[in-house]
């Protein structure tokens, strides 16, 4: 076994010295890898997950390779697994192959048991560690377990690959809810016609804004938010955060609502809560649940997004866009930016489950079963610890990071008020100010 590993490593050392030095420097056994077999087939189990089929690895690889277009000039394989898909690509095709490695422990185990030199010697092949990869190249295929069990150095690119895989499903689900959205557009029409455009608020303020989401870290931030507001900061709150804020005596200046689902919104922003407000302005979208706009006692602003569902409406009534990519946090932050805020403090924007909680205390919509959730993932928080998250949270987070990248530090500065939630690239911590 040692000979196979050494032969494979020597070949890599000669052809890809940069990769070889990463293999050498890697701290071993971070990932738990076990060998399993059944009749004449074998595979590995990586952190308790089966790496490939234990019945027919060739068939599985044919399925993966068969999903690639035949006329591709270059393809990417994300995750090495046991090299079955790579072997088929090398033997059958003329395209260039970029094979990305996500888990060095898994890769080294494979190098120990299979002689890959006939495959590695193919001139079309480039072998790359995924730590430096940023942009998804298409077409691609994946070894799902290699990607999900990525080394910590490859976590950002893991998320990119998983977002790319999840996007068609998210789009399909969004299209399925279009009936509910169209119903809300029709019900909201009278408000959309009458209400102020969101752009009336643009460039009206150049101070500090606190954007409040309903993540668990909010529990420890009320006194800080209150102090910011007392000192002149504006508070922009997601609909889900209003109830706990009001309970702590903090009335937001602006409240943003996005969800079309009446049963959820009725629990977050019920009539009793709306009637407790004394000044808060509402920002809603045509797809937002109409009951909220109907019950609102103060000024309302309508905003669109760049989604095609508004194309017809846009021809009749013009409203300006706010950035939305699945979460109500996105338009809340975009509003804070467009108001003209120079400094934006994020509270309860966790994109994860700190202490295995989904929301701050006092929010009725709780999902605290993340530990046993089949799609759970791990992500790094502000203390460099792993916290659980879900794929949709990762999608929201990465889209927010792309948005934040548009604003250079100095023009708008973003700060996270808590280290409990996921690290957000481009956002500093307020405890470091």
């Amino acid at each position: 076994m040692g000979d196979i590993l050494n032969d494979n490593l020597n070949y890599i050392k000669n052809r890809w010295p940069g990769l070889f030095s990463k293999l050498e420097r890697h701290k071993r056994n971070v990932t738990k890898v076990d060998y399993i077999e059944r009749e004449n087939q074998f595979t590995l189990r990586v952190n308790g997950k089966q790496l490939t089929s234990l019945y027919d690895r060739d068939k599985e690889a044919r399925l993966q390779v068969g999903s690639l277009p035949e006329n591709a000039e270059e393809i990417a394989i994300y995750g090495f697994a046991l090299g079955d898909a790579l072997a088929q690509c090398v033997s059958k095709s003329t395209y260039k192959i970029r094979q990305y490695i996500f888990s060095i422990d898994t890769f080294l185990y494979a190098l120990k048991i299979i002689n890959y030199i006939p495959i590695f010697s193919d001139e079309k092949l480039e072998l790359i560690y995924a730590d430096q990869a940023h942009v998804i190249s298409t077409p691609f295929i994946v070894s799902p377990v290699c990607v999900s069990e990525a080394d910590s150095d490859c976590i950002n690119f893991r998320d990119e690959v998983q977002v790319a895989l999840a996007t068609p499903f998210i789009r399909k689900k969004f299209a399925e809810s279009s009936e509910m959205h169209l119903e809300q557009i029709s019900l909201n029409y009278k408000h959309i016609e009458m209400d102020a455009d969101i752009s009336e608020l643009y460039s009206t303020y150049d101070g500090n804004t606190v954007v409040v989401g309903a993540g668990p870290s909010l529990d420890s931030l009320y006194s800080k938010i209150k102090s910011y507001q007392e000192n002149g900061s504006i508070v922009v709150a997601a609909d889900s955060a209003v109830k706990p804020l009001m309970k702590q005596g903090i009335e937001p200046d602006y409240i943003i609502t996005l969800d079309a689902n009446k049963s959820i919104i009725n629990r977050l922003l019920d009539i009793e809560l709306i009637n407790q407000l004394t000044k808060a302005k509402l920002i809603y979208f045509p797809v937002s649940s109409e009951q909220v706009a109907s019950n609102w006692n103060f000024r309302r602003y309508c905003a669109y997004t760049d989604f095609s569902i508004y194309d017809e409406l846009r021809k009749k009534i013009m409203h300006s866009n706010l950035f939305v990519s699945g979460s109500v946090i996105h338009p809340a932050i975009d509003l804070a930016v467009k108001l003209g805020s120079k400094q934006i403090m994020l509270a309860g924007c966790d994109f994860s489950f700190p202490n295995n909680k989904s929301h701050a205390d006092g929010i009725i919509v709780q999902n605290n079963n993340v530990v046993s959730h089949p799609s759970r993932r791990e992500i790094i928080n502000g203390r460099s610890e792993y916290v659980y998250t879900l794929p949709n949270f990762i999608v929201y987070l990465r889209d927010l990071e792309r948005y934040i990248k548009l604003y250079k530090p100095g023009h708008v500065n973003f700060y996270n008020m808590s280290r409990d939630g996921a690290v957000i690239a481009g956002v500093s911590y307020s405890d470091g100010i």
């Binding site: 997950k49 019945y55 399925l63 993966q64 070894s143 799609s375």
Partner: protein, 81 residues
């Protein structure tokens, strides 16, 4: 639902997992399990009642561990093989 139709859907779910489309796979798996429970008598004759109970339990346990390739193998080779 006929066995062939259930098998077709089972194989599709297995393919989703093998290609990394976990959200699609999980979404379809939930309704497949519901329908398999509805058709338990018919499936038990094909697969064996006690065995079917055990592997359905294995699927649920594997789903909690996000062990999707194992689930794909169970569906493709052990239930609808």
């Amino acid at each position: 639902m006929a066995y062939d139709e259930l098998a077709k859907r089972g194989h599709l779910i297995a393919n989703h997992f093998r290609l990394g489309f976990e959200a699609d796979g999980n979404d379809a798996l939930a309704s497949l399990i519901d329908e398999m429970l509805d058709e338990l008598q018919m499936l038990s004759k094909k697969v064996g009642g006690i065995y079917l109970n055990r592997i359905l339990g294995n699927i649920i346990e594997a789903q909690q561990k996000a062990d999707y390739i194992y689930i794909a193998d169970i569906i493709e080779y052990e239930i609808f093989g």
